[in-house]
Symmetry: C2
Subunit: 307 residues, 2 copies
């Protein structure tokens, strides 16, 4: 089985949407990526950090999905990273109510020896120095490195971010972040500029409006599945990235054609994530549900045309 190395936060989230609010629940980019990638036939490991306030029950949820957590450091006496946010009525924007870095502030990632030859590395949203440090520890050059990031690092650690972006094959960011990073409003121009920063593949996530992947002059679009109700968008972008990286790892094929299929898998998994609060839907997602919805994606997008 091929190996996927994931770095990303494992955290407590407190979420408020127009449909309700939660106490501190399981969250974090690394968590969503791991749960999403666990739908593929692969070995995965999460490199992250939590405090000893993090419940064993949450760790068990990860190992139950065959995720290796030997690189998930538990800091004695430390407190787990906590994020709290409130979504606006349209669910397209949110206010951050609290960000308590806690053990994340001094996090030094340690890649398990067994994953220093991982086939694919998925660098979830974290300080770009942490992302770089993970790449520095690889003993075999990965077949594909995927990086997710956000505007926060563009604002406060741009140089570090540009340094790690240089080293990756695929970047996944949202439309506003692509505009900020490139200084271009047109997403076509933004992607072209981001190509010149290093990544051969630029994935632009547009939330409910789907996702684009650019490669040289080629572009592919995966829609988001139209849903009756979006309940909580938290983790959707990470779930998308996890599905993308997971499928690539399983298929061991980094052609652009295969990446098209990979972002369909990512969109498919993300469409479940938003149906319940936090990780609830992802934790109970069956293989049958995943396959049934992939069929919906086919009928949503495939057409016949005589040329």
């Amino acid at each position: 089985m091929n190996k996927l190395l994931i770095v990303g936060t494992v955290a407590f989230d407190a979420i408020e949407t127009p449909f309700g609010k939660t106490d501190k629940i399981l969250g974090g980019a690394g968590t969503y990526i791991g749960l999403s990638a666990s739908h593929f036939n692969l070995q995965s490991a999460i490199v992250s950090v939590v405090g000893d306030d993090f419940p064993q029950e949450y760790l068990d949820l990860l190992t139950a999905r065959n995720i290796d957590i030997s690189g998930l450091e538990v800091v004695k006496g430390g407190k787990t990273f906590f994020w709290s946010g409130k979504y606006h009525n349209d669910l397209n924007s949110r206010d951050t109510l609290a960000t308590e870095l806690n053990v994340l502030a001094d996090f030094q990632p340690k890649v398990p020896q067994n994953f220093k030859n991982a086939d694919v590395v998925m660098l979830g949203n974290l300080h770009p120095m942490v992302q770089s440090s993970v790449l520095d520890q690889m003993e075999v050059k990965p077949k594909l490195v995927v990086l997710d990031t956000m505007n926060f690092w563009m604002d406060c650690a741009l140089e570090d971010l540009l340094n790690v972006i240089k080293r990756v094959d695929v970047i996944t960011i949202n439309d506003e972040e692509a505009r900020q990073l490139s200084g271009e409003y047109s997403l076509v121009k933004a992607a072209a500029k981001i190509h010149t920063m290093g990544p051969k593949y630029v994935v632009i996530k547009k939330g409910e409006h789907g996702a684009l992947i650019f490669h040289d002059k080629e572009v592919f679009f995966a829609p988001a599945l139209p849903l009756e109700e979006v309940f909580d968008p938290t983790g959707a972008g990470d779930t998308f990235a996890g599905g993308f990286a997971g499928f690539i790892t399983q298929s061991e094929n980094i052609s652009f054609e295969n990446m098209k299929t990979a972002i369909i898998h990512g969109s498919n998994l993300a469409s479940f994530c938003v149906e319940k609060f936090g990780t609830e839907r992802m934790l109970k997602l069956s293989k049958e549900e995943v396959v049934a919805r992939l069929k919906q994606f086919k009928s949503l997008t495939q057409f016949e045309i005589a040329l």
Copy 2:
């Protein structure tokens, strides 16, 4: 050849975008629909009205595309409908600067005898009473009636609008209008509610974010082609509707599968419309360009997945 009957404004537009502004140029929903539909193998006619200030040269542009203008009334001493608008920087919203109804105020549509048995009727955005009057004049029930409308009629002629909506097979409206008409925020729920108002097919246009077509429990999505630069969105929705109706007319097939292909044709033609001011790009569009871009739509959306 099958027949397409188009009703819609033929007008003067004055447009301002971040890229420049125009004097009074050729515009109107009927014009854009007609130019777009002229890319298919069909007979078309426009039912509309202009004043005698409308240049012969503009009429010649329509007849040069084989559009029958015997139902395009020229009112002696009358002034042509005039619309002026200014787009905001993101081109997603606009302010209307002027709307001078002029000859449109008392418009009584007259369907040419030769088109009272049209196969497809495309009711472009106009007062719903005008749209109804065109349907009243048909002597043979059309195979398909498509209606486009806008929020303006929901605000000031809702009852008339609901009466004509009952009589059509397909409605095309934008996302905000679908929300207003249905009172539902979710587009899936909005489409379901609009189905109950009459139309078996609900097309929701999302501008740069593509278009959805709903039919019972089925849904299909056509993306907008990612463009380097959008120059002027005026007429894009009408061009989309004209491509949809034109392809259906040519193919004489009103299955949902064929409608999928039809909205791809609509999106394809609309992608050209926005590249220049007004009708400029549509007037010089070659068959080769249309086919080349349809190929781009295929590679933009088609993928392989093993299920």
